[in-house]
């Protein structure tokens, strides 16, 4: 089996190739991939028919079979010379009009802006499908019709591809499909474009500006002749799973990326919490050989390669001997999600290259088959799994973020990750609450769509897949998890900076405190410097446990504790002399000042020049640098960074609300830019 990352890397490669100009997606009915759908839907990648002569020939043969069967007129075919669905008990000979009649009764969606204000008012609005889904739909429908089981003319496909390449996309109502007899209603709006319907609206692009006009006008404008439909063509257009499958493809691609990103974020969380790489040792995955688990462990290890923060466990480690579950169980938690996403991917890729209408024309047997390939339960199955996987990813990120925020869990990081004083500054407290809000909504969305099937259409559709609804809600889950990833990444970069700052400070402080210790106690025989390591260990440990205090108080507290420690040590051996007592008092006063000055000094220096990258692993470093440099999201220095507070050395760039910074990251997550620093570095599988 392919690894999840290996699979996604192939898609990335294809997308890069297609991004080069003049690269077309070629359709032949059998080889459409997720990457190609993403490219056409989201970029202006053009699509055309591969080997047009051969495929035109294939459609021709299929049409001949259809015409032959109809001319012999000895049989009835659902939707060709009968009514449709629960009304397939009627018979007609008006086979052409019938096809437009199918479009008529399905063009019944609600588009308030068009109805009240006319086409001028329509923007991307929440009552219509996004144009990326519509573009994907047009592409998928063409690919499916090209398979030669549906009996349509090549002209239909040519028209749709022409419109797609000219960026003419119908305005399609968001709701109304149960994805059982396919996505009838949304596809009827595609049909409306083909027939040049003057009451169907389309988006067009004119001089780079989006406009809405009627299908009739748009075709005229683009010098495309509308088509009137022949027998079965209306049905072939509307009866299929193209809308669900297009939406599912985009959602699934995003989910794949978020699954990778979650692993990178986990690696960063491991560093910020100074966790251990031992969690991801291959022996553990060999003991429990789930393929997903093994892959996540491997991926996180490659993210952490070279890290000075996440290292192997010291067998004499103090404190918790192992990391908490949000770090340690990441492979076991995320692994099964990768397995589900891969399974969903297989289901969707088959759907992309399937004939999903009804009835189907069997050229070799010269007959029709009445079946139910429009029943999009495979897409539902893929989307329900994907949505479940996104919730699990969200939960582990939430767990990590909560640990980073909470000083009793974060291993010495300041509360709320504030860089200044915790009494005055609450840096990521709001974000921590946001994360919980995002996750709660995400968890709510985990509820199954599939368990809400209603009998539809006069009892004919007692089961219907609800694939488009499931895909739309999975799209919402993608949005929420993207928000969580953005917020978490902001938190992580802040935490990593503070961790680096604290390690810089420790390194500098140890040297300076050692000097001070030497100066004060070297003359005294009662306490000798050979104890300094213990003295320092005690200071460091108190420092880590006092993160909730403001700096001055913290330094005083640490000094007081050190004083108590020294006196205690001394008393264990002998009764301390008065000179020792006064030395210790001096030590207490000086230590507090030294620590305070040094911390301020280190922090000021740090603001100028971050040492953070030097601590990080390969992938985590490039992700961190992408946020700090490419996205220009700065280290949060505390309350002085608030836009309405004057002073500080803040440039106007750093003076933003936290939400604005997180938004910048969010946009990079949504448009995929965040994967840029990650892609080239994650090792080949």
């Amino acid at each position: 089996m392919h690894s999840h990352l290996g699979h996604l890397q192939k898609t990335w490669k294809l997308l890069e190739k297609l991004a080069e100009s003049n690269c077309h997606v070629l359709l032949d009915g059998d080889s459409l991939s997720l990457g190609a759908v993403v490219a056409v839907s989201r970029s202006s990648t053009k699509a055309s028919v591969r080997d047009p002569e051969r495929l035109a020939q294939r459609l021709e043969v299929s049409l001949r079979t259809l015409t032959g069967l109809l001319e012999r007129s000895e049989q009835v075919y659902a939707g060709v010379n009968t009514g449709c669905g629960g009304n397939a008990d009627t018979r007609t000979e008006q086979v052409r009009i019938l096809q437009h009649s199918f479009l008529q009764h399905q063009q019944c969606g609600i588009l308030p802006d068009v109805a009240s204000a006319g086409p001028g008012a329509v923007e991307e609005n929440r009552h219509s499908l996004s144009s990326e889904i519509v573009r994907g739909t047009m592409l998928l429908r063409c690919n499916s019709l090209l398979r030669g089981h549906s009996g349509v003319r090549i002209e239909i496909i040519d028209l749709l591809l022409h419109a797609l390449n000219e960026e003419i996309t119908p305005v399609i109502p968001l709701r109304g499909s149960i994805s059982a007899s396919g996505d009838l209603s949304p596809l009827a709006y595609i049909g409306g474009l083909i027939e040049g319907n003057p009451d169907i609206y389309v988006h067009v692009r004119e001089n780079g500006k989006a406009r809405v006009m009627t299908a009739e006008a748009a075709l005229q404008h683009a010098k495309i002749s509308p088509l009137s439909l022949n027998a079965k063509e209306g049905l072939s257009i509307v009866n299929g799973t193209a809308v669900s499958a297009a939406a599912a493809s985009l959602v699934l691609y995003d989910s794949h990326n978020l699954a990778i990103l979650s692993q990178v974020l986990t690696a960063m969380a491991n560093e910020a919490l100074v966790g251990t790489v031992d969690n991801y040792h291959e022996f553990i995955s060999q003991c429990r050989p789930h393929p997903g688990q093994a892959e996540v462990a491997r991926n996180i290890c490659s993210c952490l390669r070279g890290s000075r923060l996440s290292q192997e466990t010291d067998v004499n480690r103090l404190g918790l001997v192992q990391d908490r579950y949000a770090l340690r169980t990441a492979p076991q938690w995320i692994g099964p999600q990768l397995e589900d996403l891969l399974s969903a991917d297989r289901q969707v890729e088959i759907e992309l290259n399937s004939s999903t209408d009804n009835p189907l024309i069997d050229v070799s047997r010269d007959r029709f088959h009445h079946g139910g390939n429009f029943q999009a339960a495979s897409v539902t199955s893929a989307m329900e799994k994907a949505r479940g996987a996104l919730v699990m990813l969200g939960k582990i990120l939430l767990g990590q973020c909560n640990e980073l925020t909470n000083p009793s869990l974060s291993g010495g990081l300041p509360p709320n990750l504030c860089a200044d004083d915790p009494s005055i500054s609450f840096t990521i407290k709001g974000l921590d609450i946001h994360m919980t809000a995002y996750y709660s909504e995400l968890a709510y969305l985990a509820n199954s769509v599939a368990s809400h099937v209603q009998t539809a259409e006069m009892g004919n559709q007692s089961v219907n897949s609800l694939a488009l609804i499931s895909a739309r809600y999975t799209g919402q889950s993608v949005q929420l998890l993207s928000m969580m990833c953005a917020a978490h990444l902001y938190v992580l970069c802040q935490a990593l900076d503070l961790r680096a700052l604290s390690l810089d400070f420790f390194a500098a402080a140890k040297a300076e405190v050692r000097d001070l210790y030497g100066k004060i106690f070297l003359t005294d025989q009662e306490l000798d410097v050979s104890h300094f390591e213990n003295v320092w260990l005690q200071i460091a440990s108190t420092w880590m446990n006092t993160a909730q205090l403001d700096l001055t108080n913290r330094c005083e507290k640490v000094a007081a504790q050190s004083f108590a420690y020294l006196m205690n040590e001394a008393m264990e051996r002998t009764i301390p002399s008065s000179s020792l007592c006064s030395s210790a008092k001096l030590w207490k006063e000086r230590l507090s000042c030294v620590l305070c000055d040094l911390y301020n000094h280190t922090r000021d220096g740090f603001a100028e020049n971050h040492s953070t990258p030097s601590y990080l692993g390969a992938v985590t470093r490039s992700t961190y640098e992408f946020v700090r440099h490419n996205l220009a999201v700065p280290f949060h220095r505390g309350v002085s960074d608030h836009p309405t507070i004057a002073g500080g050395s803040g440039t106007s760039e750093s003076k933003k609300t936290i939400g604005s910074h997180v938004t910048r990251i969010y946009v990079a997550v949504k448009n995929g830019d965040i994967m840029k620093p990650i892609k080239p570095i994650l090792g080949p599988h």
Binding site: H281, H290, D340, D362, N373, S378, S381, E384, E403, A450
Partner: protein
């Protein structure tokens, strides 16, 4: 010809597991070596008295012993080892050198489940509180799964301790384990601690000794004493090695998935019998359709249903190679509940197959922490107890069951509703529609089952809470998910049983319907010919007969006498119309004479045919291979009879049924008989065996 199922198909895998289970039932012994445990074996231990023992393979034994050695060496070196000389979970910042009491302390704090008096004492009757403990089958399965994981030699659980664990099963001693309290993250700590408590011989851990009516509940200490089993003290890490793992989740999940697989196969047979009851078409399952949208589950499901339909005289277009039927009255294609069954069930088969892979890996995994490598003599701290793989498999399984149930619900209700059942009586009544309501209650029950099933479909995994002082911010909830999936198994089994009762009634009524129509056509034609002689040519004669036959199925909401009248009346205009196109003069009195005679013929035909049918039903002869198996299993093996109407009611007077010496039961009791057979796997076993035979037959005929 339909495709032969590939060895990777869901059916082939289910079939293999079924055969393996039969082997284990015949030969109830099982060697555990950490590498080869399968779901069928877990089922055999849980339900069929199969007793597992530790493999005698020297390599297995040596690895286990070596893992204990590595642990002891580490302890001698004074290294910190989680859970051996540290505290547990978020309290792992504590250090101790009391390695043995530490393990007892682990048991002490995890034995915190709630049990009520009736769980601990068989003489206590549960008044307002039902059992709060797990079924014994789950506990037995958990023990086998845990022993297999420990036999992998990564846990440093000693051979004597493993013996102590397995001896419980050998002596039919089953610990009483609280049902609730595990988050399945640091494994199923709580339930496993009760099993470990039994090995320790704790006087406040209770066990069930023996099975069935002789079962006794007593303290573990007494049970071990009586069975002459030594009480064991947990050595370093042994408590953790027993408790810290996914055994309970994996065991319950295995039992649920086993039944889910069988129900998925059954759902395909249920579709086939329903298509026949409706005289639907096999065209929906034609391989061409499924080759044009090549989802493997869809292709398989269509091929299976087509195979099950082979030999049917009721379904149309059985042989894919045959030319298409020329015409078909009414709806040109079956409704979605039938036509899209492969597209609906297919993805569920794919999900169940993936769930199976995940569980099978889990059954042969080391799921505790820390783990000991005997090759590198290292101890690794990880998190293999995080049972998210089991959760993942159970959430998929439950959702798949929901989809299967939804299809069964749609199909069953279409069979019962006269607007959809293509001419069968309303509520599938045999006697008088004004007095009897046969399937009406079942129809309603099915809606109740479906509603509850739909509710279970919602994921558990979205309800994770941070646990244990935030050490367990994520926890898999696998056991809860498996328990809910078991609920879904129960509901789909209820629905399948109800459906089977409905479907057998429906095919019986269809057989009767076919026989009546055949006779009606024949006898009415004969009489009409006699009455009108040659003045009606054979074509016109046919239109008159067709009119009666076509009207008959539209009258099913009426009592029989009224049905006969209306069906004949519907043909009167056709007769008059036919007569006007001929030269013959048609007198009104002839028409009314024809009408009277035809009505009494239809009535007589109906009653004699029905009487003959009750004596010698020919339903089985009309059915395809799969439906015939289902039908004979229900009617003959399980002795669930055709429902004759009101007289079936236990308190109703009936000489016929009394003379037959057959019991009368409530409808619910009959369905219960089917339900129990389904839960035992009897019905599914019969279908699997028949499918296997057909496959072999076809395998031969293909060459």
């Amino acid at each position: 010809m339909p495709h032969l199922p590939s060895p990777n198909s869901h059916l082939a895998a289910t079939s293999r597991a079924w055969a393996r289970l039969q082997d284990l039932k015949a030969n109830p012994s099982l060697a555990l070596d950490g590498k080869n445990l399968d779901i069928a074996a877990v089922v055999a231990v849980a339900y069929h008295g199969c007793v597992p023992h530790l493999s005698s393979d020297p390599e297995v034994i040596e690895t286990i012993t070596a893992s204990v050695r590595v642990l002891m060496d580490h302890l001698d070196q004074g290294y910190s080892i989680y859970g051996v000389n540290t505290g547990f979970g978020d309290s792992a910042d504590a250090r101790t050198d009391q390695a043995t009491p530490l393990q007892a302390a682990l048991l002490q704090h995890t034995q915190a489940g709630i049990l009520v008096a009736s769980d601990k004492d068989q003489h206590q009757t549960p008044a307002m509180m039902g059992p709060h403990s797990m079924p014994s089958a789950w506990v037995r399965a958990s023990i086998a799964v845990r022993a297999n994981a420990n036999a992998r030699g990564h846990s440093a659980v000693t051979i004597p301790m493993l013996d102590g664990l397995l001896q419980l099963l050998a002596h039919r001693i089953t610990p009483v384990v609280p049902l609730r309290g595990s988050v399945s993250a640091s494994g199923d700590l709580m339930p496993m601690s009760y099993i470990a408590g039994a090995i320790e011989g704790s006087p406040d851990i209770y066990v069930r000794v023996g099975d069935g009516p002789n079962r006794r509940i007593m303290p573990a200490r007494d049970a071990l004493l009586a069975a002459n089993i030594p009480r064991r003290t947990m050595g370093p890490k042994e408590g953790l090695g027993l408790l810290n793992g996914t055994a309970v989740s994996t065991a319950v999940a295995s039992l649920a998935l086993h039944e889910a697989h069988l129900l998925a196969v059954t759902a395909q047979a249920l579709t086939a019998i329903g298509v026949e009851a409706l005289t639907g078409t096999a065209e929906s399952f034609h391989p061409f359709i499924h080759a044009t949208r090549p989802h493997p589950g869809q292709i398989e499901s269509a091929a299976n249903i087509l195979t099950l339909l082979q030999g049917s005289h009721l379904a149309a277009d059985i042989h894919p190679a045959d030319p298409k039927p020329r015409t078909r009255p009414g709806l040109i294609q079956d409704r979605y509940a039938w036509r899209s069954a492969p597209q609906w069930l297919g993805p569920q088969l794919e999900d169940l197959t993936l769930a199976d892979k995940q569980l099978h890996t889990e059954l042969n995994s080391s799921t505790d922490n820390p783990l000991i490598s005997t090759t590198s003599a290292q101890i690794y701290t990880g998190a293999n107890f995080q049972a998210a793989s089991v959760t993942s498999s159970m959430e998929k399984t439950r959702l798949a069951l929901q989809m299967i149930g939804r299809l069964i619900f749609a199909q069953a209700t279409e069979l019962i509703d006269p607007s959809y059942n293509n001419g069968l009586p309303t509520n599938l009544i045999f006697d008088d529609v004004s007095l009897s309501f046969t399937m009406k209650g079942v129809d309603t029950s099915l809606a109740a089952y479906m509603a509850e099933l739909a509710w279970t479909a919602h994921p558990i995994s979205a309800h994770v809470q941070a646990a244990e002082m935030h050490n367990q911010a994520v926890n898999s909830l696998a056991l809860i998910s498996a328990r809910c999936t078991m609920q879904a198994v129960e509901l789909v089994s209820l629905m399948s049983a109800a459906y089977l009762y409905v479907a057998c009634q429906a095919v019986d009524l269809r057989a009767l319907h076919v026989a009546v129509l055949k006779q009606v056509r024949h006898r009415v034609a004969e009489m009409t010919q006699e009455l009108f002689g040659t003045s009606l040519n054979s074509h016109l004669l046919q239109t008159v007969v067709d009119a009666v036959a076509t009207a008959w199925p539209t009258t099913t909401r009426l009592p029989i006498a009224e049905r006969c009248r209306q069906a004949v009346q519907a043909a009167v205009p056709v007769l008059v119309n036919a007569a006007t196109t001929t030269t013959a003069e048609l007198r009104l009195v002839d028409v009314s004479g024809w009408q009277q005679r035809a009505t009494s013929i239809v009535s007589e035909v109906y009653h004699t045919t029905a009487a003959r049918f009750l004596e010698h039903p020919d339903t089985a002869d009309l059915l395809g291979a799969g439906s015939k198996t289902l039908y004979t299993t229900i009617r003959e093996d399980l002795q669930v009879p055709f429902h004759r109407g009101f007289i079936e009611h236990p308190t109703a007077q009936s000489e016929t049924l009394a003379a037959n010496h057959r019991p009368k039961k409530t409808i619910g009791s009959w369905i219960s008989v089917i339900y129990e057979a389904l839960r035992r796997g009897d019905v599914q076993g019969a279908v699997l065996t028949r499918l296997r035979e057909l496959e072999l037959e076809r395998g031969r005929s293909d060459y």
